[in-house]
Symmetry: C2
Subunit: 326 residues, 2 copies
């Protein structure tokens, strides 16, 4: 693993790929690996690209990649969108278009399957983003469909969230707008050649008027046609503006702290769940508790509370102050 990591940090793509696979599959050495990777992170700018299927997220990601490459920046792409050409879905034409990056050493594309991650998709995306960061990729684009809750959680991984919309996709989008607006730092109305693009942009502005998402940052609404490269500079500029805003006044630090807090809390939850189940099994309680719940004699929350109490009491003598601070 150390040899792989050294090679990956030197720019060896195959080694980087293998490390990502380790992380993706929850390899037992993942913790050790990330322990070595983590101190080397924090240099990359991370941008999420999300939105409903069919709005052209991948096309925008491709166009932004070209833009950043033109500026000499190394770009990593993490695709967790089942319909993305980066992830192997979507149309053949899209996938062919992706091949332009096949020979560019400054671009690294990796897709994550939307299922089968032992610890959840969002921790996997976070680790892969950190690996790319440590490996020297300066801009990391994380592409995901903005439908479900786990997809929204993935956006917690990035610094700037670009939400992509397109005119003429019907009621579905309307229903999703409110939720999606909450997480947007930059709004892109793509496919601006379609009728109603101007209307959609005005609607979004009106919604922003009603619900100011963040105190001193109003997400700009950028009208673009990624396929034709229209509005692309504006998108990249809007991301840069957001980065500058974040960097000022300790905002980036504050945002990072909040995310680290929730990351640590969720890791603790995973450790505790595994330890307590193990503890209850060794104490011979687990089976009886599960049976009581399946027979509907005990409610699951009550069972969890009881196991937690037993665990906390097991470590201390009667009446002595325990971890719950009695």
């Amino acid at each position: 693993m150390n040899t792989l990591l050294d090679a990956a940090l030197q720019g060896d793509r195959l080694s980087l790929s293998r490390l990502i696979s380790m992380v993706e599959n929850g390899h037992p050495e993942t913790g050790e690996l990330m322990g070595r990777v983590f101190p080397r992170t924090g240099k990359a700018r991370t941008i999420g690209i999300t939105g409903p299927p069919g709005v052209g997220k991948s096309t925008l990601a491709g166009a932004m990649t070209a833009g950043y490459r033109a500026a000499g920046l190394k770009v990593g792409i993490v695709a967790v969108d089942p319909s993305s050409p980066f992830s192997g879905g979507a149309m053949l034409g899209d996938r062919l278009r992706m091949q332009r990056w096949a020979t560019d050493e400054g671009v690294f594309i990796r897709s994550l399957a939307t299922r089968g991650h032992p610890g959840g998709l969002s921790p996997a995306a976070r680790d892969v983003t950190r690996l790319l960061d440590a490996a020297g990729f300066e801009v990391i684009l994380v592409e995901t469909v903005g439908a479900g809750q786990s997809e929204v959680e993935i956006m917690e991984v990035v610094q700037t969230v670009v939400v992509v919309m397109a005119p003429g996709l019907g009621d579905d989008i309307q229903a999703q707008k409110a939720g999606i607006l909450e997480i947007a730092d930059v709004l892109v109305v793509n496919k601006s050649d379609r009728p109603d693009a101007g209307n959609l942009a005005r609607q979004l502005e009106a919604m922003l008027d009603l619900a100011p998402a963040q105190p001193s940052w109003r997400p700009p609404v950028v009208v673009a046609a990624a396929q034709e490269g229209k509005g692309l500079e504006e998108v990249i500029k809007a991301c840069g503006d957001h980065w500058n805003w974040l960097s000022a006044g300790g905002r980036l630090q504050a945002r990072l702290s909040r995310r680290i807090e929730s990351e640590i809390a969720s890791l603790i939850g995973r450790i505790a769940a595994a330890e307590l189940v193990d503890f209850a099994k060794r104490a011979g309680d687990w089976e009886a508790v599960v049976r009581a719940v399946t027979e509907r004699r005990t409610e699951p929350r009550v069972a969890a509370d009881q196991l937690w109490e037993q665990f906390c009491c097991a470590g201390r003598g009667n009446g002595s102050p325990g971890p719950r601070g009695g």
Copy 2:
């Protein structure tokens, strides 16, 4: 709350609605409520309906509802699909079609927003399903988009998972097939009037030949056109067959046990995360740990492990055996 519950159990729909809202919003009395609800559950048959957007899941759910109603069964529908007419998305026509149930006391429709559930969407869906079960709904249909991980988790709530596909939806579906097949108990090829419906059915059969999902149950592939009511009896029969198979030889009990185990483990994780963060804050450690991680001096997993060790040690004297079974 007790008055509301009594009324809901007597069939009062407004009270039931209010209780569902409590659960959905993570009301502090949710635990107490579910403690009273839980012993009254276990009578309903729960069926999940999932699949990619646009395959006609809601139409199928509506047609199945009509079928079960004709058999005199009370039907609850839980929609967690942002594009479902039950959830307020989708086309106006679909939504109008839903109004047929507005005056039927034997049908209760409830949608869950795909965001903003404090404890996650899948626990909320589970509690709502239990409420409907206790309130006397005999068949509960849970509709969700089968794209992301949280949507797949929701299918853990039900006994029978119906995966809906449709011909002619392009490569996207192909990419999703493998993952979706893993969770299917019944496969429906909907929109059978379209060309290639037969092809898709044969492809699915071929995939099932290659990857037998479950030892003694092979998911039947049913060709249907829900809009026209075609194949509907076969879908309902396939669900019934699966139910009979589950009920035989203790399979239902075994499946329930596995799910209860993972439910308890995840509840323990939530309790532990909250308690430990609280414990670390009271001990004055939390801020320093978070700072060490944001400054990249400590890797998040290491921080979580350390906090866990501290918590476990706090309850016991030096060297005495603690909960970790030293």
